[in-house]
Assembly symmetry: C2
Homo-oligomer: 233 residues x 2
């Protein structure tokens, strides 16, 4: 922090639970916020963009501090159930050992590269991402060592040399994220997590399962509309 | 190399001199090649895409091993003379100490992230980029330490864990790149380097100046059409 000038942060906001709580945390630091949403041709892109706008409205982020970006090439390459209509979204398996079909290769690097370019152009020193390591689907670009390596890349790869990524919820389980969000007054009602559907959440994909279990363990009511609402406790 | 199976490589081909020679080098290794071109809203995007196609044709790369991607968000963010029409492309200054206005923040990370996702989906273990460190414009994402950091990121950030970036011309000056390209029979006539113009090269931007000086020092005729052709030796 530099005297009376608040730090500037670019916050990646997918529209999901984790990034919403990460944004609430960044707001609580008193940082001056920019919000960035990246659609990548995933099945629920429209619904997630809507969630992003509602969350940004809730935090009164002015239009010139919002950026929505569409990247099309990940869907063109395929290889993930989230972007390739020929690959079905798997039923939830919270004990799965192998990489789930929902894995989008190197996805977070695309998101962080866009955030970094925007941070450098706007003179922001912080990037906030709601990556979660433990209570998640095991994607490699959600682990702490990935963020350490990305921060090392930032130190040598930008002209500014002072940009860094912070991951406020990376070590929390979903129940702790729900509790933190509730404590901070985050607009959890506006978030969307389902990998499959846009109107009613399916309740049975990995992302719905992780979310439902998190709300149930935190004993907080989940405001999302579910087609089926399994008990995961 | 794995017995009789050639290694698979994704080669980034901008249409410029350096990436053309990097591709020639990769072809000479006997690798099985995929070529990737990324347009990012730069002034000479159309001409560079044409150069990419001619170079890919020269190496007989089949259509299903070519990928052309357009990213629009770097131009939306502005901040570089290459993507922002309100910022003029500077006249050449090969002794300039500060970062040139042509710097596109973190650009190569976007290119490498796309190459990595494509490599992971296609089972390729190598990514080739024609970055040049010394005889260049001083961009941070063209230095060897940037590529060391990116390779460290690849080891932790992909499910494959075996992808690595190679930079065959990073330590060469432009004259050595021209000589290597001529030796390897690279289609130098098809390349485009000018930052400003698409029909005749201006001859006076940093990129033209570096190229012209390289060809002159290598004593190889530069086949590009120039509006003016200063002597840089």
């Amino acid at each position: 922090m530099n005297g009376s000038e608040p730090d500037q942060a670019v916050v990646l906001v997918s529209g999901g639970l984790d990034s919403c709580v990460a944004l609430a945390w960044a707001a609580a630091q008193g940082w001056s916020l920019r919000v960035l949403h990246v659609g990548y041709g995933q099945r629920t892109a429209r619904r997630e963009a809507q969630a992003f706008r509602e969350i940004a409205d809730y935090y009164c982020v002015p239009p010139d501090r919002r950026l929505e970006v569409e990247i099309t090439y990940l869907a063109e390459m395929g290889g993930s159930s989230l972007t390739d209509p020929r690959i079905e979204v798997e039923a939830a398996d919270l004990e799965r050992a192998e990489m789930p079909l929902s894995y989008v290769p190197f996805r977070n690097t695309h998101l962080l590269a866009i955030a970094t370019s925007w941070a450098e152009v706007t003179g922001s020193e912080l990037i906030v991402i709601g990556a979660v390591s433990e209570d998640s689907s095991g994607y490699p670009d959600c682990r702490p060592e990935y963020y350490e390596a990305f921060n090392a890349l930032l130190r040598v790869g930008t002209a500014a040399r002072n940009i860094r990524v912070v991951t406020p919820v990376i070590g929390l389980d979903k129940a702790a994220i729900v509790r933190l969000g509730a404590e901070l007054g985050a607009p959890l009602h506006a978030t969307w997590s389902c990998y499959r559907d846009e109107d009613q959440a399916c309740g049975t994909c990995d992302s719905c399962a992780l979310r439902l279990r998190g709300f149930q363990r935190a004993a907080v009511p989940d405001p999302a509309p579910y087609r089926v609402r399994p008990i995961y406790e």
